[in-house]
Symmetry: none
Amino acid sequence: MFPEKLLKGYHSFLGNRFEAERKRYETLAEGLQSPEIMVIGCCDSRVSPEIIFDARPGELFVVRNVANLVPPHETNGAFHGTSAALEFAVEVLNIKHIVVLGHQRCGGIRAYAEKMAPLTSGDFIGKWINMIAPAADMLGERGDMALDDYTSKLELASIGQSLVNLMTFGMVRRRVEAGTLQLHGACFGIGDGKLMVLDDSSKQFRPLAA
Amino acid sequence: MFPEKLLKGYHSFLGNRFEAERKRYETLAEGLQSPEIMVIGCCDSRVSPEIIFDARPGELFVVRNVANLVPPHETNGAFHGTSAALEFAVEVLNIKHIVVLGHQRCGGIRAYAEKMAPLTSGDFIGKWINMIAPAADMLGERGDMALDDYTSKLELASIGQSLVNLMTFGMVRRRVEAGTLQLHGACFGIGDGKLMVLDDSSKQFRPLAA
Amino acid sequence: MFPEKLLKGYHSFLGNRFEAERKRYETLAEGLQSPEIMVIGCCDSRVSPEIIFDARPGELFVVRNVANLVPPHETNGAFHGTSAALEFAVEVLNIKHIVVLGHQRCGGIRAYAEKMAPLTSGDFIGKWINMIAPAADMLGERGDMALDDYTSKLELASIGQSLVNLMTFGMVRRRVEAGTLQLHGACFGIGDGKLMVLDDSSKQFRPLAA
Amino acid sequence: MFPEKLLKGYHSFLGNRFEAERKRYETLAEGLQSPEIMVIGCCDSRVSPEIIFDARPGELFVVRNVANLVPPHETNGAFHGTSAALEFAVEVLNIKHIVVLGHQRCGGIRAYAEKMAPLTSGDFIGKWINMIAPAADMLGERGDMALDDYTSKLELASIGQSLVNLMTFGMVRRRVEAGTLQLHGACFGIGDGKLMVLDDSSKQFRPLAA
C-alpha cells in the first residue's frame, strides 16, 4: 500500500499548490527545464532546499546525497551520480549558480567525526563519508574539543572542501574563471533557522541578516 | 554574491513557514532525524518531493540524482552516492517505505532514448544514464513508436528496474520479505499533476484517484 | 609435457564415448550449437554439470566461475565474463532455462564466511567473493551458528541472490515475464549426491525425490 | 518446473556414475578439493572438459567462459571472474598444470572474425570478445582467406594469446619459471574428435597421436 501520509500530502498539493500554480506547471511541462540555480544538498529530512528557499517549481536543480558532498573529478570509478548531475547542470542546463547547502546536526558528518566509519555492516556509507577526510585534515586534530563543536566546524569545512572539489572539474573552473558561473557555500541551522553563507572575500561563514 | 532569488526566498521562508513551524524545527534539531519514508527522486527542478507530497520537515529522507536511478548492489566501484544513502536510510534510520519517484518529461531518460549518450563531451552522464539500459532491454525495440511515447514508457520501465535493483541489496530484500519495509514506484505528470503509482498485484502503473 | 592424466583420459574418450556418439559429434560440428539449457556452476573439480546431469554434447551451455556467482547488471566495469556469457546464451542462443548450480563444501563461500577476504595476497578473489555480501546481509548475523551450518545456509542464500541478480538484466526479465525463459536454483551435495532444488512457490530448497 | 531433461539426467547419474563412484564422492566431500589441473575452457555445449578428458570428480578445476579467454593482469576493472578463479587455482589450490582448451567452430571467435561486435544490442559480449584483438593483430590481415580458415587460425592464435596473458600474472610467471607450474594450449575438433596441442619447442599446434 502506498503510504497514507503521501496520499494525503499529494491530495493537499493537488488541491492547493498545484491548483494555484497550474498555469506554471503546464508551461513547465511543455519543454525541458531551465533552472538557473543548482543546489547540492543533504538527504536529511529536515533540510529541503525548496522549503528553505521557498522555491517555485522550475527554479532549483537539486542533487541530494548524504552530507551534501561533491567528489573531486575522478574518472575511474563507476556510477558517479553527483558528478553526472553536475555535468548535466553545467553543460546541458547552463546553470549560473551552484550552492553547496550543508546543515547543522548532519548525521553523516557526525558519523565521520565519531570515527564510526564504517557506520554499519555495509560497504557503502564508510566509503562515501571518507570523502570528508580532506576537510578533517584541513581542520587538524580535534583535541579536547566537544564533539558538537567539532562536528559543527567539520560541517563548514566539508562545505569548503566540496567547493574546492567543484573546481577540479574543468568545465566548472572554466566557467567560474570566465565569470559565467558562481559557486556558493551555505549552512542551515535547523533549530533557529539561521543561514550561514560563505563570504568570498573573508573566506568565513557569516549569518545572513534576517 | 549569493543569488538574490535565494535571499528573497529564504526571508520568505523565515517569516512564514519557519515561523509557523518553529516549534517543530526546534524539536527536530534536538537529535538526529527519524523519517519513515525515503524518496529517490530526480534532480529536475520541477519535481520537488516535498512539494508534491506537501511534506513537513522531518518526514522525507530524499536522495535526488539524474533520472532517479538506483544502481544494483555492486561492491567494487567507488563513491556510490545512492547506495550509501540507501544504506543509511535502511540500516541507520530504519526507514519503512522507499518510493522511487520518477516524472514525465525527464531529460535524462529522453537523452538515453535519443541515443544521445554520451550526452556531452564529459564522462559522467553517459555512464550514469547507461543504467537505463536494462529497462530499455526490457521494453524491447522502439520500432516506429513516437519518441514521446517511447520516452514515457521508458520512464515507467526505468522505475520498475530501480525497484528490481533495490532488491539486489540484501539488507533491503531481507526487510521486504520480513514485511518491515515496503517498496513503491510512482511517476509524476508535470503538466497535469497526475501521479501514477505502480500496483503491486497487476504490475501496472495506475493513476491515483484525485 | 601435456599432463599424462589428460592424455590417457583423452584416449579413453576417443575410444569410448566419442566412438559411441561419433554421429552426434559430426552433426554438432556442422553449424553452431543450439543448447536449450544454460548452467552457471562452480569451478570446483567435484561438480561437473555434465556429469551431475549425465548430459550429452550439445545439451548444456556452461559457465563456471568461483562459487557460481552472477553479478547484477552493471554497465561500467570491464571484462564481465559471466554477463557476456549470459548475454550470449539469452540473446544469441535463445536459451530456455538457466540453472544456477551451487554445491556444498564450496571453498569460495566458505572463504567469505570465514572472513578470509582477501583470501590471498592477490586482488581478485577478495573482490570477486564480495559479491556474496548481499546474500550474507540477507541471512543476517551468524551469531553462534557453527561454521559448517552457516556456510550451508550461505550457499543456498547465494544461489537465491544470483537469481535476483539475473532479473536485473532486462533481456532476462523480459523473457521470464513473457514465459519464454525459466530460472532455476539447485545445490548439489557432494557426499550424498543429493540435489536440492529451489521451489518457486515456497521459496525454499527441497531435495529432489531420488 | 525444473527441466525434465535435467531430472532424467540426474537420476541416471545417481543410479550409475554416483553409485559406482560413491566411495570417491564421500571422500571428496570430507574436505576441500585438491585437483592438480586447471582447465580454462569455453561455455560451448559441445566441449565439456570432463567428457573430453574422461575426468573423474576431483580431477579438473574448470573455468568456462565465452571463447576460453584469459584477460591480462589488469587491476582497475571490476568482477574479474577468470582472474579470481586463476588466483584461487594457483595460490590456494597450488595447481600444477593450466590448460587453455579451445575448440573449432567457436561462436565467440567467429563473431569477432565477422566483425559482428557488438554482437547484440547488449553491452557485454562486444567488450568481452574484444580481448581477441591482440590475437587478431598477431595474425595480420585476413585478406581473401575464407572465413572458416581465418576463424580456425584465430582460434589457435587466441589460445596462444591467453597463454601470453597468463604470464602477465606474477604469481603464474614465478611458478612457471620455478618449474612448479606448466601452461598448455589445446584445441578440440568437434567433428573428428582430434585434439591439437601446442608444442613447446616448435610453438606450433600438432595433433595428438590417436
